[in-house]
């Protein structure tokens, strides 16, 4: 666990992500809580054959989902447009309309990408499990649906449950409002979402933050991700126009 976690540039922060890596991308979908600068750096890094883990994915660009007006939304579709990702594990990869086709759906239609669609609660719980040392768990969600395919089914209290496995990753890109010198992260509002769980579930955790403060600069009652989980921190330029 490095003591000095600050990395100077977004490019440096993602430079060792190799071809074929599994990468978690935090947030919920939308601008808030999305590690957008890290995503752009990873795209520019040019790595291939990525497996991504996200939630709402590839929707914002088409629909403006979760982005303020007047900006060109950036979402996980950039890795499919660039041909860098060939698989995504997520809960919401396509729009409600077959005529609004995201980069992810397009890649899937063209046979360039595999898309694993997981119920959102199962997805976040699997990610949490990976970070929390829980190998697998039983959830009622998905029983009797296509999600149950290939899953062990077991009855508890008269209800069918599915056995779902921990879902870890090689890298997690997360976004927080502030970090301190220990790597503690503070989130605001709904920008928590998938970030805190993903920050526990990857071998290497890279945080994009708006600001770093010295030790003691964060309220100990407001730490969303204790520093023990965080390997690298990159700070945005003040006045970065991206939300």
């Amino acid at each position: 666990m490095p003591k000095n976690k600050l990395v100077r540039t977004f490019r440096d922060a993602v430079a060792d992500i190799p071809d074929g890596a599994t990468v978690m991308i935090g947030g919920f979908g939308g601008a808030g809580g999305q590690p957008t600068r890290l995503m752009l750096a990873l795209r520019d890094h040019g790595v291939k054959n990525l497996t991504l883990i996200g939630n709402v994915a590839g929707i914002s660009k088409l629909t403006g989902y979760g982005w303020p007006k007047g900006l060109d939304p950036i979402d996980q579709g950039i890795f499919f447009a660039s041909g860098q990702a060939n698989r995504i594990i997520c809960s919401f990869p396509v729009t409600g309309s077959p005529n609004l086709v995201s980069e992810i759906e397009k890649a899937w239609r063209e046979g360039r990408a595999e898309v694993d669609i997981v119920p959102q609660g199962t997805l976040i719980e699997r990610i949490r499990a990976a970070g929390a040392g829980i190998a697998a768990f039983y959830t009622p969600t998905g029983a009797g649906t296509p999600v149950a395919k290939g899953r062990e089914v077991r009855i508890f209290n008269g209800r069918e449950h599915l056995l779902e496995y921990a879902l870890p990753a090689d890298f997690a890109l997360v976004r927080a409002k502030m970090a301190d010198a220990h790597g503690n992260l503070m989130y605001v509002g709904t920008s928590r979402a998938f970030n805190p769980a993903m920050a526990t579930a990857a071998k290497v955790v890279i945080a994009e933050v708006d600001e770093v403060v010295p030790s003691g600069g964060l309220d100990p009652e407001r730490i969303g991700t204790p520093g023990v989980y965080v390997d690298r921190i990159v700070v945005r330029d003040p006045g970065d126009p991206l939300p």
């Binding site: 669609i117 959102q120 199962t122 719980e125 969600t141 509002g189 928590r192």
Partner: protein
């Protein structure tokens, strides 16, 4: 059979659903018609809205596209900060949902069966869909109300070159090496075809991929209010839209409706 009277608007569907939300309830509204319900909550009823992305107790939204991206709802809109809100992460949000702590959820549907099975996440001919929070909500919320139009538009016959999914379901692997293949219209849609332009959404058995089994308590549409009896005991027509009767509703429904003596007309004031 031609419509005996106009169908209700999306707003009217939402208005009717809003009356089902009890004072003090914690409620999760899906996108589309369900989200509109918040505009029609009767005076004196206070609800606590929960959204999957980790927020409880929001109210009014900013105008479209304005607001703070750090305070979002699950539909990607930006609510204003209001007193008594709570923020939490997705782990906690789905612990709340899966654990059965949400009183009511209102969701849209592609199909609802006479047993209360719900299908709302994938059109089979598309081959890929979005589950989001729907399965967790439908499986685990105390009361699931469906707000939807009573029927769907019948699809145009698909041109031979059209793209179609590979039907692999949830793990949607890339199209077969031969490339996308044309599919004939989905058999469901033939079976449930009501007219040349309409397909039933309330059906005997869903043949769209399910969201959850036997989860729906009530269906509110643009022509009717239908209770789903527990334990697969079928559908009871409770109310019809003004100008509609049981027969005209049944004609647009591909599952048998039980019609009680006390059938009412929906009031929408």
């Amino acid at each position: 059979m031609p419509d005996p009277a106009p169908r209700l608007t999306r707003q009217d569907i939402a208005r009717r659903v809003a009356r089902e939300l009890p004072d003090g309830a914690t409620v999760n509204l899906g996108i589309g018609i369900p989200a509109l319900c918040a505009n029609f909550v009767p005076h004196g009823v206070e609800l606590r809205y929960q959204a999957e992305n980790g927020i409880l107790g929001f109210g009014e939204h900013y105008p479209d596209g304005e607001g703070d991206p750090d305070v979002m709802d699950a539909g990607g809109k930006f609510p204003k900060r209001s007193p008594g809100m709570a923020f939490f992460d997705s782990v906690e949000s789905f612990a709340m949902i899966r654990g059965g702590h949400i009183d009511v959820t209102v969701l849209g549907a592609l199909q609802v069966s006479r047993h209360g099975d719900l299908a709302n996440w994938m059109i089979p001919t598309r081959g890929i869909g979005s589950i989001g929070g729907a399965m967790d909500l439908a499986t685990n919320t105390r009361r699931v109300i469906i707000a939807m139009e009573h029927t769907a538009k019948a699809p145009a016959p698909r041109p031979p070159s059209s793209i179609a999914g590979n039907g692999l379901g949830v793990s949607s692997r890339p199209g077969s090496p031969g490339g996308p293949e044309a599919l004939t219209p989905h058999p469901t849609q033939e079976k449930n075809l009501l007219t040349n332009s309409e397909v039933a959404k309330i059906v005997e058995e869903c043949d769209y991929p399910l969201t959850a089994r036997r989860c729906v308590s009530m269906i509110v549409t643009d022509i009717a209010v239908i209770d789903v009896l527990p334990e697969g005991r079928g559908l009871v027509l409770r109310e019809t839209a003004p100008g509609w009767d049981a027969k005209s509703v049944q004609a647009l429904t591909a599952a048998q409706l039980q019609v009680p003596a006390g059938l009412k007309t929906m009031t929408l004031k």
